[in-house]
């Protein structure tokens, strides 16, 4: 499973992505647990429900089941246009 980071999320993770081979998160809630644990700087943003998540390039319900081959994206509110 690949978890990609964008914009100021990267300023906190200090990397573009994580690759998880075993015991990968099974849904977005487990992704949040993983992030809380790996990047304490993200904790308050997760708590304030600021982050957005995409599964395979689509906004998805948080309870959607994840597969080991999925690409997850974690990013802040967008600012395009």
């Amino acid at each position: 499973m690949k978890i990609r980071y964008f914009a100021w999320i990267k300023d906190i993770t200090h990397k573009d992505y994580d690759l998880i081979e075993n015991n990968y998160p099974k849904n977005i809630n487990e992704i949040k647990l993983f992030l809380n644990k790996s990047y304490p700087g993200l904790k308050k943003h997760i708590k304030e429900d600021i982050l957005r998540f995409a599964i395979n390039m689509e906004y998805s319900p948080t309870n959607q089941k994840l597969d080991s081959k999925d690409e997850i994206a974690v990013f802040p509110p967008v600012s395009g246009g």
Binding site: A7, A54, M57, E58, Y59, A73, F75, V78, S79, G80
Partner: protein, 138 residues
């Protein structure tokens, strides 16, 4: 047509490429977004625009398809730039091609509203001193 690109574009050329195929089109509404020199009362020097490119293409393609169907457009073009963009440079172009004007206006507004809300682009503004990541409000 969806284009996610670094380089600038000519509105005339981009419209002409599509318009030439549709002689029944009487109306093209376009929106161009630019880098502004002043934001949150700070002097902007330039932007760094980051994109999640694969998702942006998917998201904008869906949005374009929705707009095309809902307003019976002949065609629709969305160009969004990324990378380093200076004040007065174009950021985004949305063009909606329809037989009559009402649909082209409404579709273009719809697409811009959702592009601002959902398309995975992020602006980092660089000021005389410091920088800030932006967040779209409306």
């Amino acid at each position: 047509m969806i284009k996610i690109q670094k380089k600038d574009f000519s509105v005339d050329n981009e419209i002409k490429i599509l318009k030439d195929s549709y002689s029944n089109v009487g109306a093209v509404n376009s929106f161009i977004g630019y880098v502004r020199d002043l934001n949150n009362s700070k002097d902007v020097k330039y932007l760094e625009l980051e994109v999640y490119k694969e998702m942006a293409i998917k998201e904008l393609s869906n949005l374009r398809e929705k707009g095309m169907q809902k307003w019976d457009l002949s065609d629709c073009l969305i160009i969004h730039r990324y990378g380093k963009l200076y004040v007065n440079e174009k950021i985004v172009l949305v063009c909606c091609f329809s037989e009559h004007r009402k649909n082209s206006f409404e579709a273009c507004k719809f697409i811009m509203d959702f592009l601002k809300k959902d398309a995975p682009f992020w602006k980092k503004e660089f000021y005389t001193e410091g920088s800030d990541w932006l967040q779209n409000i409306s």
